[in-house]
Symmetry: C2
Subunit: 262 residues, 2 copies
């Protein structure tokens, strides 16, 4: 049986690093050190998790059972190069990066991908957040799964391709969805309407997606093929050609998908 | 003071008609008659609301204080032509149709627009659904407002332009958002991943939009200007050029919006 993880050091102090460090601390793991380029940021997070702060990656103690790198994607190469412990168990938390970026740093490596959107201020319960893991060996897989299971009841294995594709799915279901909310707000703002009028609709649409197949539950003028409303809307959107264009593209995609289903 | 509405007949038996008829019935209004082209559909809804069913529009009694037309947009002209009561108070429930389509049928007319997405099977509490009203006169406005207030605590006046623009906002925040959920499901399905992995993300994204300005809360590679992830995602979407194209269009719009904000 693989050695179970008890002590952890965190490299990074951004949204994912902070939420993860707190969740691990609250789940009884000992957070040894927090590294951040900014000692101030490292100190803030270290205080919350009973850890030592540092801004010197090469000074990290080798006592941690696991080192979690949670950085912006482009920061990895530089930081990994200066990481001092060649045989440590190391993971990153990025949806879009291959497990292989860690290969030359240590043989024992993996990915822990908490699948949620994190905001700086808003606390969030890890309990229901899917955590996807992937290790360089069966023994690493076991260790990561055991750790993730102490944070969440929704733990799954996902290989590199699956994790990257899931990240793309998240771009659609979170980032792009939010942008459509933003467009809706542009429209209500421009017409002296309160954006909060949309809250029940936003909530119900999200509820529906969690209770069945969104492809089958599509509503609106495009799926009904109601060209007269579509034309009407396109005319009303003439003052904002970029929104008009998006309306056209999305309606077309809905129409095309629906004819595929027939 | 305007005469208050007590008895109502409903013309239509679709989703909006059904939910509205039930909510009115439960709020103590007397539903007199339900008209539907299909006597069977009229009967189903009439039974639930203590009303009489009919499939003959010209046979509708003139005893109702209000006639609510809730039809598919293209059914209005024909039905309105055969409606027999020239001086009745009549409203439609369509977001996209002008109040003026009712003008030649009766002087006393208006719009009652319940702003929500309705599913056939799923009961929904009207209490928090925004209801937008608009009448042909101050006295009709008063009557519609008084009625709507008995259904919901979220009642507002919206003129034709506002209602139509709100309907467009709904196409973005509901219909198009649902289509993005559908695309996310296409991606998870294609990669042997469970779509339910996205539920916490979908919920949290909807929560955030209801707690602040979605424009300010945009996250993801596009708003960070992270071209390497965007390129990476576009490559991974090569097998589905229509999804790839949507990814490109939406990312560009996010990038453009963000540079406008700077």
């Amino acid at each position: 049986m693989a050695h179970s993880i008890k002590t952890i050091s965190i490299i990074g102090s951004g949204n994912v690093a902070s939420h993860l460090a707190l969740a691990l601390h609250q789940s009884g793991f000992r957070i040894l050190e927090i590294y951040s380029r900014s000692l101030e940021n490292a100190t803030v997070l270290a205080k919350k998790t009973g850890a030592e702060p540092t801004n010197r990656i090469e000074a990290l103690s080798n006592q941690a059972d696991l080192f979690i790198f949670s950085l912006s994607d482009d920061a990895y190469p530089e930081i990994l190069k200066t990481f001092p412990h060649a045989n440590a168990l190391i993971v990153h938390t990025a949806g879009s990066l291959s497990i292989d970026i860690l290969k030359t740093t240590s043989d024992r490596h993996g990915v822990l991908y908490p699948f949620q959107t994190f905001s700086k201020e808003k606390e969030i319960s890890f309990n229901s957040i899917p955590i996807l893991y992937c290790g360089s060996s069966e023994s690493v897989n076991e260790q990561l799964k055991a750790l993730a299971t102490q944070l969440s009841r929704n733990v799954r294995f996902a290989d590199d391709t699956q994790r990257k594709q899931l990240h793309i799915a998240a771009v659609f279901a979170c980032n792009f969805v939010n942008h459509l909310y933003a467009i809706a707000k542009e429209i209500t703002d421009a017409n002296d309407l309160d954006f909060s009028l949309l809250y029940p609709l936003i909530q119900e649409t999200a509820n529906k997606a969690q209770s069945g197949d969104p492809i089958a539950m599509q509503t609106g003028p495009a799926v009904r093929g109601d060209q007269s409303i579509i034309d009407n809307h396109l005319t009303l959107l003439q003052a904002t050609p970029d929104i008009q264009n998006l309306y056209k593209t999305l309606s077309k995609r809905i129409l095309d998908t629906q004819s595929d289903l027939k």
